[in-house]
């Protein structure tokens, strides 16, 4: 280096602006937050520059706001950058957990420098929601990445805090930002900016305060990886002799480890039909358990029975018209809707159901012989279908419609004789037979066959599509039953079937299996 440049370097100021990036989704108030930070800095005599690239992302897309601020100098104006430099950002504020993840991927979060402030709530992207199975991204991967990438993390559910205090997330993020202490301004300064804002000042201040305190007391609360499944063991006493008998039958027929799931099944089926139906379930389960034991299930922790306990209950509690009507007219459902909608004081609530019954469902609810006879009489079937098959708006809160649904749900006592029940039982028997046939030969594969029942769900067209996927997945069984890794392949096929609606991924996976 020559002398000139050495002396030149010495002449240069070493001042650096504080750099702040805000990652939000359109409509989350990222612009408000950005304006607040600028107003705060200017109020304190700093120079602040903010910018954003909203484009069409002002709708619901991911948006980034960028702010640089530096103490004012009367003699000179700073030249500030209009975009963040990855690796040189002091604060990243993310208004949602995956946006925090996105900020890490953009390289703006670095261990030496960045304070990451993020809300841990999730707003699922279309890509996550549209999957026929569970497309929700694993939050633990975000946590482990942000923990590694950031110098310091302030993370908790700021959306919940905002909702609780009647404001929006920008106030909560501003509170957490204030608490981070990155900008050397007092809490009162931050609050003064909110007060100068105009709209919704009180709720904003309350939310700000709650988030501020939370950030100081418990700066980091990781989101739970998955919802906790509610699996209690069967109780000692139920308060009803019939139920007590069911529980003792359950306890006597299954080992302790399998009891909670079987108890969940018993509860479900009692609710679906009656205790006797739950008793049938236990009989079938006991039978499956003995076959499991004969096939050396103990070495596998009775995985076969464990899955059967779950999926047999689901199969027996199929979704029919009676079930839907039953769920819609319950008092507990009326209460739940009230709570979800948030009805206050003297407000009155009415629910309107969107139903579209077809002749198929009507036949399913008729006695087996009659239903089948109508189905076989094409002319009659079509004639009736034209009268039945249309969208209906059912106002459950009015006496007329309530009575209608009430009567349909009352047909529960005839359910065992219906065409739908016969079909469901035949389908279930076939599925269990397939699994049982494999059990002695390929235990793991038999377990996977049981799990494939997950593919059958929904109503009408969706249900048909589910069954078709179920059939296609199981069509690979002859190719897999002799393979040691057959279970792995069947699991992959099932996962593929849940990736898209039309089963394109499944077709690909089936081709792969065929080429094995």
């Amino acid at each position: 280096m020559d002398d000139a440049s050495i002396s030149g370097r010495a002449r240069l100021s070493t001042a650096k602006p504080v750099t702040i990036a805000i990652l939000a989704m359109g409509g989350q108030g990222g612009g408000v937050l950005s304006d607040w930070i600028v107003a705060l800095a200017e109020m304190k005599g700093w120079v602040a520059q903010s910018t954003s690239v909203p484009g069409v992302a002002q709708r619901t897309g991911a948006t980034i706001y960028y702010i640089e601020t530096i103490p004012g100098d009367v003699n000179r104006e700073p030249t500030l950058s209009l975009m963040p430099t990855p690796g040189d950002v002091d604060v990243v504020i993310a208004a949602e957990l995956m946006e925090a993840g996105r900020s890490v991927l953009r390289g703006v979060v670095t261990p030496g420098q960045t304070t990451l402030i993020t809300s841990t709530h999730r707003s699922y992207a279309v890509a996550e929601k549209e999957k026929p199975g569970n497309g929700i991204a694993d939050p633990t991967l975000v946590i482990s990445a942000t923990d590694f990438a950031a110098k310091r993390t302030i993370a908790f559910d700021m959306e919940a805090i905002a909702a609780k205090n009647g404001s929006v997330i920008s106030s909560a993020l501003f509170g957490a930002f204030a608490a981070s202490g990155v900008l050397p301004f007092s809490r009162e300064d931050f609050e003064a900016v909110i007060r100068a804002g105009g709209k919704g000042i009180e709720p904003s201040l309350k939310t700000f305060a709650a988030a501020y305190d939370h950030a100081l007391e418990k700066p980091k609360i990781d989101p739970k990886p998955k919802a906790d499944k509610h699996l209690p063991p069967p109780p000692e006493r139920t308060g009803h002799p019939v139920l007590d008998a069911l529980v003792s039958k359950l306890k006597s027929s299954l080992p302790l480890s399998l009891q909670p799931m079987a108890y969940a099944g018993v509860r479900k089926l009692t609710d679906f039909q009656d205790p006797a139906y739950a008793g049938e379930y236990l009989d079938r389960l006991a039978d499956l358990f003995s076959r499991d034991r004969q096939s050396g299930g103990e070495a596998h922790g009775f995985a076969f029975t464990a899955e059967a306990a779950k999926y047999l209950a689901i199969a027996m509690a199929y979704d029919d018209v009676i079930r839907v009507a039953d769920l819609k007219v319950r008092g507990s459902r009326f209460d739940r809707v009230k709570k979800e909608v948030g009805v206050k004081g003297d407000q009155i609530l009415y629910a309107t159901e969107f139903m579209h019954p077809r002749m198929e469902e009507v036949c399913g609810t008729l006695p087996k012989g009659l239903g089948r006879w109508i189905e076989e009489n094409k002319g009659l079937y079509d004639f009736l279908d034209r009268r039945v098959n249309k969208g209906r708006r059912v106002k459950t809160g009015t006496i007329f419609w309530f009575l209608g649904l009430y009567m349909v749900s009352g047909m529960r006592r005839f359910r065992r004789g219906t065409l739908r029940h016969a079909r469901e039982m035949a389908f279930t028997a076939e599925w269990l037979d397939k699994a049982l046939a494999l059990l002695p030969k390929n235990y793991a594969l038999a377990v996977e066959v049981l799990k494939c029942r997950r593919l059958v769900k929904g109503y009408s067209g969706t249900h048909v599509r589910g069954i078709s996927k179920f059939d296609r997945v199981l069509s690979a069984l002859p190719l897999l039953e002799a393979r040691e890794d057959g279970a792995d392949w069947l699991r992959r096929l099932r996962q593929a079937a849940l990736l898209d609606e039309d089963g394109i991924a499944l077709d690909g996976a089936l081709k792969t299996v065929a080429s094995l």
């Binding site: 240069l12 948006t63 995956m98 946006e99 890509a127 026929p132 929700i136 139920t238 309107t352 929904g458």
Partner: protein, 719 residues
């Protein structure tokens, strides 16, 4: 009514001499126009200059006081043609639009305008939508300046520089009788900063005076032989006049030491990025001190040869920083140096990428390569530069890339366009997929998941025109989509007229949401709002019938999915030839909510009986297949995990942001999905009759529910 109100900001437009203006770049430009004595302003909205149009619309009082005429032009072509007022009269005019999309539309008028030249200052403010967040094709507006011999200003991205560029632009235009383009990049449009204001100026010569004293000069009209004269005048008089003005007024700037082995030439808009890069290399500071000479071209076109020569002479190498392709300035620079036989090495696109935004890492990399090649001693001990690569190469971060979902823009909560595309998907299931020509506007979000509908997009109002080749006998018809914005912008003649005239046997779907919604909810001809300053409520159906369309269907509630589906099916299968036009109308929900929310709240507060609707999902009935989401994608329709051990997949759930548009219910009904959706009607301030009915109903229903419960043997809740 535009999406955002600038009523408060408009107050800032009244600031006088010496007062400090604080705000967005767009607002600063508006203020600069008023300070420059502008007579008329026009333009067409579009990111990133939508807010400029909105501010102008909200500032009508200020403008009227100053005698400034403002209009929302029908298109960029209309706006550019408006500048014709400055051809013969000494009135200053400014127009604005999104570029390059808008400049393409305007180019016919622009060519004519610059050929004949102007008397009054004519300024074209273009919001350059290039780089991250852009919604259009990536091109440079620079080409237009070059081909039409207009001047292109590209000021440093801070408020004082942008304001000065507006003021200088008018003067430059007048000094050289040439229209001037002022390019502002997307980040600069939204940049918040401050500048010292001046008083607003009334135009010295008014439009009224012009109209009452008309002047004409046949030599200014593009018609031979005058047009040959124009070319000569441009090259021999106007160009040198512009160069002299730029030089004399020092519109371009020099920073850093006067001499040096190397130097950097940058267009003004990229100056901050260059400076930050140099700062990271230890060669500049945040206050603009630089150890490297920098020549800032605030005038990107024309190049001021003398200034460039003076800057390059004696330097071993010079880096040219210009964004996008082709590298017009670098090419010009090379030609210039070659002609003058100057041996300075020109670097540019060899170290900086030909395409893409010059983000901070790109700039840093380019500067480093240039300095390493030509002035490595300057780099000295190489202070550590910002480097995220250790983070990005970590396994934990790589794993993250597999889970962070893309989040493109999409239809808003309750958007009335969603049911249209749900209906299209349902028809697709019956009749198979069709070729779909899309257009520009919110409805283009249909190309994304969950709808995945739409094959091409050729331009605003060109959707049906772009399906015009598909007018042959076939088993299926082509479908084209166009919004109301595109329809009035260009589509009525170019798409509908074209289809009628050529008997185009396709289906044309006109999505009418009462606004130019994608650009921020501005009013257009068919808007249903009463706008005192404009004539709205002009029917699209009447317009298409007026130019000869015969098969026309109006659907006045797009949420009626079944009707939408049936109408589409009919259009696709009817024997009738010629265009089948469906006008699907429902108000943009974003704007509707902004309109009715305060009204609703006020009515409730006043004790009026009001019914609030929202949707819900019965979680017990939902089976977690998410077919409803694949036909909707509404932000308020999401999923949630349950704690039911017998469920593997999350169930659908509707959150509090639901506006009760009805799409969920209609879709599940039309598609025969599942009965889990319900609409909750909450009666606020119920009347006595409401209360009486509710009490009778709940007594009867409650009795029946208790009766059923008492007869049922169930495990206790939560056991």
């Amino acid at each position: 009514m535009a999406e955002r109100s600038f009523a408060r900001e408009v107050e800032d437009l009244k600031l006088g001499e010496g007062e400090i203006f604080r705000g967005e770049g767009i607002l600063a430009i508006t203020k600069a126009l008023l300070q420059s004595g502008v007579s008329y302003v026009g333009g067409y909205q579009g990111s990133p200059i939508s807010h400029l149009m909105d501010v102008l619309a909200d500032a009508k009082d200020v403008m009227e006081d100053l005698g400034v005429h403002f209009e929302t032009s029908a298109s960029e072509a209309a706006a550019a043609a408006m500048l014709s007022a400055s051809v013969m009269y000494p009135v200053r005019g400014a127009v604005t639009w999104k570029s390059t999309a808008g400049t393409n539309v305007a180019s016919d008028a622009l060519s004519n305008l610059s050929s004949g030249g102007v008397t009054g200052g004519a300024l074209i403010i273009i919001g350059e939508d290039y780089g991250e967040g852009s919604s259009i094709m990536q091109e440079r507006s620079h080409a237009y300046a070059m081909k039409s011999q207009m001047w292109l200003l590209d000021p440093r991205p801070n408020l004082p520089s942008i304001v000065k560029a507006v003021e200088d632009g008018f003067e430059l235009s007048e000094a050289s009788n040439t229209p001037v383009m002022l390019q502002v990049r997307i980040r600069a449009c939204h940049v918040h900063g401050q500048f010292v204001a001046k008083d607003n100026r009334r135009p010295a010569f008014t439009l009224k005076e012009a109209m009452e004293n008309p002047v004409r000069d046949v030599n200014r009209i593009v018609l031979p032989p005058a047009s040959f004269g124009h070319e000569k005048d441009k090259l021999e008089r106007r160009w040198p006049a512009a160069v002299n003005f730029v030089k004399e007024r020092k519109l371009n700037e020099f920073f850093g030491p006067e001499t040096g082995e190397i130097g950097i030439i940058t267009v003004g808009g990229l100056y901050n990025g260059v400076l930050r890069g140099l700062q990271q290399l230890g060669l500049a500071d945040v206050y603009g001190e630089s150890l490297v000479p920098i020549y800032v071209m605030n005038v990107a076109y024309p190049m001021i040869d003398d200034e460039v020569i003076a800057f390059c002479q004696g330097k071993k190498a010079v880096l040219m920083v210009e964004e996008g392709a082709p590298d017009y300035i670098e090419q010009g620079l090379n030609t210039l140096l070659r002609r003058r036989d100057i041996q300075t090495r020109i670097s540019g696109k060899d170290v900086l990428p030909m395409g893409g935004e010059y983000t901070a890492p790109v700039m840093l990399k380019g500067l480093t390569s240039f300095l390493e090649a030509h002035a490595s001693p300057l780099l000295g001990n190489r202070p550590p530069v910002p480097d995220p690569s250790p983070v990005l190469s970590d396994e934990r971060v790589k794993a993250l890339a597999t889970v962070v979902p893309p989040r493109p823009a999409g239809f808003c909560t309750g958007c009335p366009e969603r049911p249209i595309f749900a209906a299209m998907k349902l028809v697709e299931k019956e009749l198979g997929p069709h070729h779909v020509s899309a257009d520009i506007g919110c409805h283009l979000f249909s190309i994304l998941p969950p709808f995945n509908i739409g094959g091409t997009t050729m331009g605003y109002g060109l959707g049906p025109a772009s399906a015009s080749a598909f007018n042959v006998e076939a088993g299926k018809r082509a479908i084209s989509v166009m919004g109301d914005g595109g329809f009035w912008h260009n589509g009525l003649a170019t798409s509908v007229g074209n289809a009628v005239f050529n008997k185009q046997d396709g289906v044309m779907l006109i999505v009418d949401n009462f606004y130019s919604a994608a650009t921020g909810g501005q009013d257009i001809l068919s808007s249903r709002a009463e706008n005192p300053r404009r004539k709205t409520n002009n029917s699209i159906v009447a317009a298409v019938k007026g130019i000869g369309a015969t098969w026309v269907r109006q659907i006045d509630r797009t949420y009626d999915v079944a009707k939408m589906r049936d109408t589409l099916r009919e259009a696709l299968t009817t024997k009738e030839k010629g265009p089948k036009i469906i006008v699907a109308s429902s108000e943009c929900m974003l704007n509707k909510q902004r309109r009715i929310k305060p009204q609703f709240a006020a009515a409730v507060k006043a004790g009026k009986r009001m019914v609030k609707e929202r949707f819900g999902v019965d979680e017990d009935v939902c089976t977690g297949d998410h077919a409803c989401i694949r036909l909707s994608g509404c932000p308020s329709l999401s999923v949630k995990e349950t704690n039911d051990p017998l469920r593997d997949d999350p169930v659908a759930a509707i959150d509090n942001s639901c506006v009760g548009c009805g799409n969920c219910g209609e879709v599940s009904e039309a598609a025969v999905l599942c009965p889990s959706f319900y609409r909750a009607d909450v009666i606020m301030n119920p009347t006595g009759w409401d209360r009486f009915l509710a009490s009778v109903r709940s007594k009867v229903i409650g009795w029946l529910q208790r009766r059923r419960e008492s007869r049922r043997v169930l495990f206790a809740e939560g056991a």
